[in-house]
C-alpha cells in the first residue's frame, strides 16, 4: 500500500483528512494520528514555512517508504503545510494505519521525529513585527537518535 504524502500551501482540514484515510483503510484495526499546530504564545503572530521543492517532497516520500519497510502498515498519511500560518493553524498531520496498534503508534512517532529533524523545511516566526529564523533544537536530534 503506497503512502499518501503531500505538501500543502493551503490550510489542512485534519478531520476531513482522517475521515477519508480511515475509510480507505478498513483492514486497519487501529489508526494513530498526530496533529502539529502553530503554538500560541511568546508573542508569535505568524509563522512561515519555506521548503525547497526538489528535495522536500522526495525526502518526505523516502521517509514514508522507510516507515512502510520497518512496520507492518495498511497505510500512511503525511501532510505538511508550507507558507504563512497563524497560531492554532495545523502545520502537519501524520496518520498511520495498521492491523495492530503498536505498529501504528511506532510508525507515526518515527515519521514525526524524522520530519522534525531531517526534512527540508526552514521556519521563521514573526514577533513584535520582526521575522526571525528558527534554529534547530538539540532535542530534535536526540529524538531521532532513538531510532538508530
Amino acid at each position: 500500500m503506497a503512502a499518501d504524502v503531500r505538501l500543502s500551501e493551503q490550510a489542512i482540514d485534519p478531520a476531513a483528512e482522517l475521515a477519508a484515510f480511515s475509510a480507505a483503510h478498513e483492514a486497519a484495526g487501529g489508526i494513530v494520528s498526530f496533529l502539529g499546530q502553530v503554538r500560541a504564545g511568546g508573542g508569535v503572530k505568524a509563522l512561515e514555512l519555506r521548503h525547497y521543492e526538489p528535495l522536500t517532497l522526495p525526502g518526505m516520500r523516502e521517509l514514508a517508504e522507510r516507515a512502510h519497510a520497518r512496520w507492518s502498515l495498511e497505510g500512511l498519511l503525511v501532510i505538511h503545510r508550507t507558507g504563512l500560518m497563524h497560531p492554532g493553524d495545523p502545520i502537519v498531520l501524520v496518520a498511520a494505519a495498521a492491523r495492530h496498534r503498536r505498529d501504528a503508534f511506532a510508525a507515526a512517532e518515527f515519521a514525526m521525529d524524522h520530519l522534525k529533524s531531517e526534512s527540508w523545511f526552514w521556519k521563521r516566526e514573526q514577533v513584535d513585527g520582526e521575522w526571525r529564523w528558527v534554529e534547530p533544537r538539540e532535542q530534535d536530534f536526540e529524538d531521532i537518535r532513538r531510532w538508530e
Binding site: G36, R50, Y52, P54, K116, F121, W122, W133
Partner: protein, 80 residues
C-alpha cells in the same frame, strides 16, 4: 544564467532569495563565490551549509558550476 538560491537564514544574509549569474564557462565554486560579497561567502562556506545542484545534494569540494545550473545553499533545517 546560473541560479543561486539562498534558503532559510541565508536569505537574510544575501538580502535576496536568489541571484542569477551569467557564467561564460563552467566555473569552480570558488570562482563563483568570488563574485559574491565577503559576508555572504563566509555564511555559505559554513560546514553545516549543504549544497544542492539541480536538486541533488553534492560535495562542495571539487564542485564546478555551469551556466544552466541551479545551485541551492541549504542551512540546517529548523524542523517541520
Amino acid at each position: 544564467m546560473a541560479r543561486l538560491l539562498f534558503l532559510g537564514r541565508l536569505e537574510d544574509v544575501a538580502g535576496m532569495e536568489e541571484l542569477s549569474l551569467p557564467l561564460a564557462r563552467v566555473c569552480p565554486l570558488a570562482e563563483v563565490m568570488a563574485m559574491l560579497p565577503g559576508e555572504l561567502v563566509e555564511a555559505l562556506r559554513k560546514p553545516n551549509v549543504k549544497i544542492a545542484v539541480n536538486g541533488v545534494i553534492v560535495a562542495a569540494e571539487g564542485l564546478a558550476i555551469a551556466d544552466t545550473d541551479e545551485v541551492a545553499f541549504l542551512p540546517p533545517v529548523s524542523g517541520g
